[in-house]
């Protein structure tokens, strides 16, 4: 058992660190969830791509570097330690791209991935519906067969990045009920028949959107996997959304280090209750980092264990940013990076499957407890 990096991994770390030191903007970009900030973050994706750092784990032919999972973890540590901007295309890079690698065609990969890596096309997700949140299999928006493709009708909601993104992906019902008969499609958000209505999140910023579909045409070429097999395609990447990939350990170790610095600057040593919360946040961030190394060392699909990580990181994120606001005292309510992070963190226990659902998954699939009653009993 060891925690050693190879020379190649250390060289990669050094290269990433040096590049980021040169290129990360000195003052934070405007909020990702505003029109101006979205544009600035898109520009940043282009810059990252120029150094082939926007999707390091992808094969080189699509704009990546073929980085190993551990190198990816190293990249993330360096990225967040350097204070790198939020990743506006994370839905595409972390959710859609894995689905394309696992279930897409070579043509789809060649067409979709390079502009995604280059920041030329920013992707939003379209999973939830007004009647299908945690219970995602309750999807009612439809994809009906037409000549050469499908016609989308219905409504999606809570589409992150929806207000300003170029394209979106999601599952629609083409037949059947519940998990059967769902079809995974990609579509442009400016297609005829799509209406995008931005929704202000808790602080009013248009972070997500409601999407309305009125006979939106999607060609067969933009269906991922087999029609009707969308649940399986979507679930094969659910672990990415819940686990290490979406919220890497580096994000939290960097935030915890910033929190410790904030404590060193502003903390009252006599206030041991607050000191303990800072310490706990740092300890938990380190635990997540260690756990990430353990997961990669075991080299098996995290599967249901991803639900454990999701509960852990989302609650850590809230605790960490809450603690920062308390440290800031009366300044905690003022606009600033910690408040932005706090508002962002508050959504964590809800999206990607609420933490209540994740605990059900952990109880049933990791601990082997009997399936809980699902109402009606």
């Amino acid at each position: 058992m060891d925690l050693d990096f190879t020379d190649a991994e250390q060289a990669f770390r050094a290269e990433v660190r040096a590049w980021l030191r040169e290129h990360v903007p000195e003052s934070p970009l405007p909020s990702l969830e505003t029109e101006e900030g979205f544009a600035a973050h898109r520009e940043w994706e282009r810059e990252l791509h120029s150094a082939r750092l926007s999707a390091v784990s992808w094969p080189e032919e699509y704009g990546g570097r073929g980085a190993t999972p551990l190198e990816w973890l190293v990249f993330e540590e360096e990225y967040h330690a350097a204070g790198g901007p939020g990743r506006v295309n994370q839905g595409g890079i972390n959710l859609l791209a894995p689905a394309l690698f696992a279930h897409g065609t070579a043509e789809q990969r060649a067409r979709v991935l390079p502009p995604m890596a280059a920041g030329a096309e920013i992707w939003a997700q379209a999973w939830s519906e007004p009647g299908a949140g945690s219970d995602l299999a309750g999807i009612r928006s439809t994809a009906s067969r037409t000549d050469g493709g499908w016609l989308l009708s219905g409504q999606k909601i809570w589409s992150s990045r929806g207000p300003f993104a170029d394209r979106a992906f999601g599952v629609f019902r083409s037949s059947g009920e519940r998990h059967r008969g769902l079809t995974y499609v990609m579509f442009p958000l400016d297609a005829e028949g799509v209406t995008v209505r931005p929704i202000g999140r808790l602080d009013g910023k248009p972070a997500f959107a409601e999407l309305f579909f009125d006979g939106v045409f999607v060609p067969d070429a933009d269906v991922i996997g087999e029609p009707g097999d969308g649940w399986r395609v979507a679930m094969s990447t659910a672990g990415n959304e819940r686990g290490l990939t979406l919220r890497s350990p580096g994000r939290f170790t960097a935030a915890a280090d910033r929190l410790v610095r904030l404590w060193a600057e502003r903390g009252d040593p006599a206030d041991t209750a607050l000191r303990d919360r800072v310490a706990d946040a740092w300890i938990r961030a380190r635990a997540y980092r260690m756990h990430g190394y353990a997961v990669l060392s075991r080299m098996h699909d995290a599967g249901s264990e991803a639900s454990m990580y999701k509960v852990f990181w989302s609650e850590l994120d809230v605790a960490l940013t809450e603690t920062a606001l308390d440290l800031l005292g009366p300044d905690g309510e003022l606009d600033g990076p910690w408040l932005e992070d706090y508002v962002f963190a508050l959504a964590g226990p809800i999206y990607a499957g609420t933490n209540e659902i994740q605990r059900n998954v952990v109880a049933e699939r990791v601990l082997g407890l009997p399936r809980a009653g699902r109402g009606g009993r």
Binding site: L3, D276, W282, S297, R359, V362
Partner: protein, 321 residues
């Protein structure tokens, strides 16, 4: 990087687990609490024969060299099976002792030691059963003598003694106090983690079979979620404990041991509270063996430094404040 036990380490952990599972550790713990040390000493010899104590003793004194990862793996099993006796204290003593004869005795299992380190560890655990009682006073390692009978602990298998220094003994460390405190905290964290795992596993088994309202109580989400949270906390604490073992002896050694102790104590204690609540009244009885771990988890929460103490150590290491 390979941050997981290698096949040899896994085999070693399985060996320790197997030998403890085949022994009546519960019976030994009950006897130990009554002052009958014989079954506990038999377990002790079995652990020594498996090579556990040698893992804290340098090779020139009959040990295997200090092997924190293997030790952590073994101590998780010690905690899981509720082994009584000053295991952690003997390992902490081995880490700082310079006396060749005592070290050789620890390695071969013929010598059980205990160690007080006031104010962090004010009492010598099981001084009546130990062959060598030590105390760190004024920054130096001393032989010590118990003064008076045992103080009663919540955990009857932990017999705590006040003691006073009674002559010097060689230490291998310039600062035996900090070296023992750090190693004891790491070892205790691993023991607590094992106790927490046992509490969780036992409780999961219980809620699968215990029926109320015509169904296993494990079907209730309130029960499921509590167990899920307990598992999550133990899992992540486990990574910290192994991380601290790998980091042992490096520049962040003390900081990481403190982080591991704070997290493992909290996780084990949460597991104890969960176990007690989900077992209901039977879990609150002395007679039911679950009590061995519930009481131990509470005692280990503050043994070798409370979580608050170790959080303070982490912050001091990070900020100097």
């Amino acid at each position: 990087m390979r941050f997981t036990l290698d096949s040899e380490q896994r085999l070693f952990a399985e060996t320790v687990r197997g030998l403890l599972a085949g022994a009546d550790a519960c019976g030994a713990a009950r006897a130990w609490g009554r002052g009958d040390h014989a079954p506990g000493r038999a377990l002790w010899r079995a652990l020594a024969d498996a090579g556990v104590f040698a893992l804290a003793v340098p090779e020139e004194h009959g040990g295997a060299g200090v092997r924190p990862v293997e030790l952590v793996a073994a101590l998780i099993e010690v905690g899981r099976h509720g082994v009584p006796g000053p295991v952690v204290e003997t390992l902490a003593a081995a880490r700082v002792l310079g006396d060749p004869k005592a070290l050789a005795g620890i390695a071969d299992g013929s010598l059980a030691a205990t160690l007080a380190l006031p104010p962090l560890v004010p009492y010598a655990l099981d001084a009546d059963a130990a062959d060598l009682v030590l105390a760190v006073h004024g920054g130096a390692l001393h032989r010590a003598e118990p003064a008076g009978g045992p103080h009663r602990s919540l955990d009857p298998a932990r017999r705590l003694f006040s003691c006073s220094p009674a002559g010097g003994i060689a230490s291998a460390e310039a600062s035996p106090s900090s070296a023992a405190a750090e190693f004891g905290a790491l070892a205790c964290a691993a023991q607590a983690l094992g106790a927490g795992r046992r509490l969780l596993d036992t409780t999961v088994d219980h809620v699968r079979t215990r029926e109320q309202f015509g169904r296993p109580i494990g079907e209730f989400q309130a029960v499921q979620h509590r167990l899920a949270d307990t598992l999550i906390e133990l899992e992540f604490a486990g990574s910290l404990v192994y991380g601290a073992a790998v980091a042992h002896g490096g520049p962040d050694s003390a900081r990481d041991a403190s982080a591991a102790k704070a997290a493992a104590s909290e996780a084990a204690y949460r597991a104890a509270r969960t176990a007690l609540q989900l077992h209901g009244a039977i879990g609150y009885t002395d007679e039911f063996d679950l009590s061995l771990w519930i009481r131990k988890a509470r005692a280990l929460h503050t043994a070798w430094g409370s979580p608050a103490h170790h959080r303070g150590r982490v912050m001091a290491a990070l900020t100097g404040k």
